[in-house]
């Protein structure tokens, strides 16, 4: 168990979650699909804004580590807002709503939402 890949004996009795592998429970929120798409995420984002800003800053720091000139982030902030309107609704309007509530530049919220496809790069 002390050499990679650190395979353990099959764990038992881990539930209910406890101990060092359990960091914490997860909060519940309601997303009302009857609201306009731009308003649906207001409650979640109002609560999580600070963590979201921190996470996006971490990605920006990483991008700057690769491209110190800051050009990569500029590209994200200039190009991806142009792309948001090509995304299908309701996703496009929901992403705009998240950017408005969080204050995070729209391009960076778009990047977060298409990250799975971008990550393959």
């Amino acid at each position: 168990q002390f050499i990679p890949p650190y395979t353990e004996e099959c764990r038992t009795g881990m539930y209910p979650p406890n101990g060092p592998t359990f960091r914490g429970a997860v909060s519940w929120y309601t997303v009302d699909l009857d609201l306009p798409p731009s308003k649906r995420w207001t409650a979640v984002i109002t609560d999580k804004k600070t963590d979201l800003i921190e996470m996006i800053q971490a990605i920006k720091d990483l991008a700057n580590a690769f491209v110190p000139s800051g050009k990569l982030i500029e590209l994200v902030d200039i190009m991806l807002p142009l792309m948001v309107d090509t995304l299908p609704n309701p996703f496009s309007d929901e992403i705009k709503g998240i950017a408005a509530v969080s204050g995070i530049p729209l391009g960076e919220v778009v990047l977060f939402n298409i990250f799975y496809e971008v990550f393959t790069v």
């Binding site: 168990q1 002390f2 990679p4 890949p5 650190y6 395979t7 353990e8 004996e9 099959c10 764990r11 009795g13 881990m14 539930y15 979650p17 060092p20 592998t21 359990f22 960091r23 914490g24 429970a25 997860v26 909060s27 519940w28 929120y29 309601t30 997303v31 009302d32 699909l33 009857d34 995420w41 979640v44 984002i45 999580k48 963590d51 979201l52 921190e54 996470m55 971490a58 990605i59 720091d61 990483l62 580590a65 090509t86 995304l87 299908p88 996703f91 929901e94 992403i95 998240i98 969080s102 995070i104 977060f112 939402n113 298409i114 799975y116 496809e117 971008v118 990550f119 393959t120 790069v121």
Partner: protein, 253 residues
């Protein structure tokens, strides 16, 4: 990621998943952890999507991400998605999108649309298998009847393979990490073998949400990339999730 759908010997279907993310996106030497994985953990939320004040589906998500990676349509189906690596990957889909070819779907928008609009396991399976994507993926789908559990291996354009639970063959669960099930996993990242060993050791008689949590808590199925574990039971319509840590020694992936 690791996703598993299992049928116990009373015909109940349970679905569990570890969401692993942040590989090679900055290693924090002091804390021995991935920077982005740690930044994602506080963003984990459980969401109840409602229309006319009725629950349409529930999901575990990262705040700010409008697509879906983990979800349940209560009493109808459960769905998770794992990443699939391919040279014909998402960057080609993005390029096509920028060049104006927009008949493909962004992966997590497809899962969100299926959770929101599909009304049966078969309908969900058809849509996940046949909709053109911008990036390859694995979709792990559970239903509400015996035998309804499958792994859909997708390229961007095709459904390459669908592996289903088959009790007659003794296949009472299907389990996916990040490699095609008919191939050996990458030798430096074999989470499949230990996960399957623990599932087989648990046996169909004892499989439940609790024991799936045990399997998903066993290193290296639990690793430094694991941000959360979600457990779903379609017959109960229940979804519960837990933010995870992997104390040292622990595999970085």
């Amino acid at each position: 990621c690791t996703s598993v759908v299992a049928e116990d010997n009373k015909g109940n279907l349970v679905h569990g998943r570890n969401l692993d993310f942040g590989l090679f996106m900055g290693w924090d030497v002091k804390n021995k952890s991935w920077i982005i994985s740690e930044k994602l953990k506080p963003l984990v939320v459980n969401l109840d999507f409602k229309r006319n004040n009725q629950t349409v589906f529930k999901s575990t998500n990262f705040a700010g991400y409008v697509g879906m990676l983990t979800g349940i349509k209560p009493h109808i189906f459960t769905l998770t998605m794992n990443e699939r690596f391919s040279l014909d990957g998402g960057y080609i889909g993005i390029l096509e999108w920028i060049l104006g070819q927009r008949d493909g779907m962004w992966m997590s928008f497809l899962t969100r649309s299926v959770l929101e609009n599909a009304n049966s396991y078969e309908e969900a399976k058809t849509r996940l298998a046949q909709t053109k994507l911008l990036a390859p993926a694995y979709f792990i789908l559970g239903g509400n009847q015996t035998g309804q559990g499958c792994i859909i291996t997708r390229s961007r354009l095709l459904s390459i393979d669908i592996l289903e639970i088959d009790l007659k063959l003794g296949r009472w669960y299907v389990l996916e990490t990040n490699y095609d099930h008919w191939k050996e996993p990458f030798f430096l990242d074999d989470r499949r073998t230990p996960a399957k060993k623990c599932m087989n050791q648990t046996t169909q008689t004892n499989i439940s949400l609790k024991t799936i949590y045990d399997v998903l808590s066993t290193k290296p199925v639990l690793n430094k990339l694991t941000t959360y574990t979600t457990l779903m039971q379609v017959s109960e319509g229940s979804l519960e999730s837990y933010i995870r840590d992997c104390p040292n020694p622990c595999m970085p992936w």
